[in-house]
Symmetry: C2
Subunit: 138 residues, 2 copies
């Protein structure tokens, strides 16, 4: 998976490849931190100075629609985006520096069936997110 792959996916879905979109895609693709639209704008303008904030919003919207980026929920706010993981993955966030990692391999079947029994709910999905300190920050 590379930034070019994202551009191809946009193209395959009938969207055009532009300098503005390249700048946004490159920026978000290569970031290890979740970025707000405004942060994407600041960073991407280093690659394409004329980029407008509106185009950042519009491009993020399309990338989210194609499941190439996903929104990150944090106590301080939920407007930031990160390159999406592949398949069923969960997030691990550094509380100090904001670095984001994915992990997989959670087995919550025992838990969910126990909760299903107790509550009478039929459980369809789960969100799991871990917070802590990354190897650099701890």
């Amino acid at each position: 998976m590379s930034a070019e792959t994202w551009l191809e996916q946009l193209h395959d879905n009938g969207y055009r490849i532009t300098a503005a979109r390249r700048a946004v895609v490159d920026t978000v693709f290569s970031s290890t931190h979740a970025l707000t639209p405004s942060e994407v704008h600041d960073a991407a303008r280093k690659k394409y100075r004329a980029l407008g904030l509106v185009t950042v919003y519009r491009t993020l919207e399309k990338l989210e629609e194609l499941h190439l980026v996903q929104r990150v929920h944090q106590p301080m706010g939920c407007q930031a985006f990160i390159a999406a993981g592949i398949g069923h993955q969960h997030l691990l966030l550094c509380q100090q520096c904001g670095r984001v990692e994915f992990f997989e391999g959670d087995d919550l079947d025992a838990l969910t069936s126990s909760i299903a029994k107790k509550t009478g709910y039929q459980i369809k999905e789960h969100w799991l997110q871990l917070f802590g300190l990354c190897s650099d920050c701890k």
Copy 2:
């Protein structure tokens, strides 16, 4: 725990008990659904017609500060509030009707220490949320 308890807590923390706050507290305390400030406003105005939306925001802020309500994160948005659980609890949300339940008794120690080993992170907290259909909706 009753709505009166919330009012007492507000009072104990130096806040005054007013008709406006009663209406907000009663509304949020007794709701089985997460409510946005605007939804709280609409509902609470049935109890106290003169209630302003600004007061809803201010009251929710204080209730959150006292850990009596908490924000609910959902795919569609993160502005809604619900009466907080006691101690370490997680949320279970009905995707159909929006009903919210708490559950406890998750044991993620095995998972977190495995992830800690793999990633080098020191894990401090976790968020877990289940989505599904409640007994009425399934």
